[in-house]
């Protein structure tokens, strides 16, 4: 609401997601299963509206990790390296890369009214097999900061349970971001033909909006 008053528009700040559109698109593109997933999502979001943050985090983390069943590389799912999928695409295909999980969680939590400044999409270096492993991989997780200076909670698809950062010694944070300052003031919703000029992040936000998630 504060953002609206400031004239700043951020996706998901209001419960403005158009579920009927989302359902229709899911059915058209991916069939009945996807449609049912969206119906489940809607039900879940509705039950969580007034729940404490901790419950929201756990339920959404579980839902996304459960519904995006297959964790795979973008090249196998989308036929191109590093494709940022919208939640509809990820849920529809029931498959996704690490950032697809994180994006979906971020969007749904924002939908549930968790403010932007508490959420960060974070690039991390993940040591495969434990903190002392020599094999590391580029990974993305969603961090939740209960207060600005608190230790974040990590929502990951590799480790199902939500843990504080200190309990994830296998992850080394590199950079984090959210949608703050992105969709501002006069720079209105980009039209679809200009999507190609946008960064991946802005691009996926724009496509999401076209799907009905606002």
């Amino acid at each position: 609401m504060a953002c609206l008053l400031l004239g700043i528009w951020i996706p998901g700040i209001q419960a403005a997601t158009d579920f009927s559109k989302l359902r229709l698109l899911a059915e058209q593109r991916y069939g009945d299963r996807a449609k049912n997933t969206i119906i489940e999502l809607e039900a879940l979001l509705n039950t969580l509206r007034d729940a404490p943050d901790q419950e929201k985090l756990e339920k959404i983390n579980l839902f996304v990790n459960d519904k995006i069943r297959r964790f795979d590389d973008d090249i196998n799912i989308w036929g191109q390296s590093d494709y940022w999928a919208t939640p509809l695409e990820s849920l529809g295909r029931e498959a996704g890369d690490c950032e697809d999980y994180s994006i979906a969680k971020y969007v749904f939590l924002r939908e549930l009214g968790i403010p932007n400044e508490k959420l960060r999409l974070t690039y991390v270096r993940a040591k495969i097999g434990g903190p002392n492993s020599r094999i590391s991989q580029a990974h993305m997780i969603l961090s939740y900061y209960p207060t600005p200076n608190a230790e974040p909670l990590i929502l990951d698809n590799l480790v199902i349970s939500i843990r504080p950062a200190s309990r994830r010694p296998d992850l080394v944070p590199i950079f984090s971001f959210n949608s703050e300052g992105l969709w501002t003031g006069t720079s209105t919703t980009p039209s679809s033909d200009s999507l190609s000029h946008l960064s991946r992040w802005r691009n996926v936000l724009a496509r999401m909006q076209a799907d009905g998630i606002e």
């Binding site: 974070t122 600005p148 974040p152 590199i174 984090s176 300052g181 003031g185 006069t186 720079s187």
Partner: protein, 644 residues
Amino acid sequence: MSLIKQLWIAISLLMLLVFAACVIASIESSKHTLEQQLQMKNIDNATSLALSLSQIDKEDPVNVALLLSAQFDNGHYQRIKLVDPEGKLISEHNNPDIQPNTPGWFNHLFSIEVHPGVAQVQNGWSQYGTLSLESDATFAYQALWDGSKKMLLWSVGIALLAGVLGSWLLRIITRPLSEMANMAEAIGDQRFITIAEPRVTEFKSLAQAMNRLSNRIRKMLTEQSQLLEQLRFEANYEPISGLMNRKYFTSRVSAYLDNEDNFEEGVLVVSHIAELAEINAKFGGTGTDQILKRIGHALTELCKPENAMFAGRLSGADFAVFSGSPLNRELLCQQVKDAIISAAAIEGSFPEFGPRTIASNIGRSHQLDSLKDLLAVIRERNDLTQLQLEIDDLAQQAASQLTTTRTESEWRARLDNAIMSKRLRLASFPVISPANTLIHNEGPMRLQLEPNGPWLPAAEFIGWAIKLDLITEMDDLLVQIAIDDLKNGKPAIGLNISSRAVSNPAYLDHLHALLQANPEVAGKLWLEVPEDGVFRHMEAFRNFCLMLKPLGCHIGVEHVGAQVARLGELHDLGLSYIKIDASVIRHIDSNTGNQAFLKGLCLIVHSLGMMAIAEGVQTHEEIAALPALGIDGMTGPAIQTPAV
């Protein structure tokens, strides 16, 4: 306001709107592009700076400060700000000196709104702060300003070009319109001209309609004047021979004798066919009519208009031929006699056939009584030779009274001297309206051969002036005198222009230049050309009208009567008046035939927008009869200058 001007204004306004819209749209679009570029730059730079900051060791705040300074000092930024997660300022770099060089109103009108690029800085797992970065937008304003100026310059350039092109096109498109406006004006002035049809469809039908109107009027006038000619013929001509009847013949002759400006001496030939009764008995009525018709035809053939000749049948057996120029008397006498004999072609029945023919010189001093005398004696006296001698004596006595014989060199010296000393002036004969107001004064030429000598009418010296090639100088001088008189406040002047002068381009140019130099008196100058001159030199006269009419003077035709059938040809010249020949006016009060003719003539003249003026008015009865017939002005011996 003219149509062209209105169209021009409308087009200019439209062009202005279009160009303004173009310029504004272009500026807006450039502005949008610049804003997007700046926005991207802000976001990208904020992200990469935040990325760098996230990687470094932030235990020592100097590291952070150095990195921010390095970025700010070497880049193009308005502001770089770092605040901690609780909104407390960590570091801020600001460049307050940045002010665009572009005009304030422009910056205000097209302000470039770019939002800061925002990125998060991490310190390990914990949040370090939020970085916001704004780029320097001066270059964007400058680029926008320069682009707009260039755009405006191009627009103005193209608009000017379009204006020039547009005016040219408009002029071409509307050219037929102005031609039609001229035509409408001409028709309003009762000049029924036709114009070439323009190619534009709408104009074409309009021009066709107007041309049709003009042509219909012309046709109507032609028909009317032909009807009039018929009237004139019935009133003035003898039906069997086709020659003038006695009344008209004597009127014509006396009109000549009274016209001292154009007539000095002529020849009158009278021929009497004594055998007419016998011919009638021999050939019967129809046969005799045939013979008379042939004779009439032969005499008409004999009469050449350039010698001012005409023929009449005075009574059953009496024929007459008059020449207004001094031809050889004996020769003409013989020609008339031969023409009658060969035309009659009755040698078979009357081998001795030969009309009794005598000729007499006839001058201005003669009275028409001499014609009566001639007719009387020719019927009674058998001895024609003796009679001819007597007539010759009489004529010579009259001639010796009139002019002293001078040699060519004497004439040249005297005329030269008269021109040099400007011993030329205009006589003055009033032309008045029926309401007794002065229309103008006719001003025939008068000349003094010797200082203090008598002022001679033109007829007495004009022959020599033409022969000695001095007439052009005299004509020029006369116009100058007329204009000087007018400038000195004299009332309007009617000036006779001979057909010779009308056909002389040098004279025309002189007249044109004089009138152009004195536009204030042009409206008081009435220029009149004799009817026979007008119709013999139609092209020259047309040119004369086209040249002088626009200067404001009145142009008319004088001595109108013999060729009314051709009056229709004058429909598009914009003439002001015609003067009707004295032979038509003579005894108009009693001549019902001529009354009908004159009435019709006045109708046509009025429908052409001209005044009808009667010449040679001699009696109060004529003055009383003329206005009812439609006459607008009168001149002649019976007309006095109205008392002012």
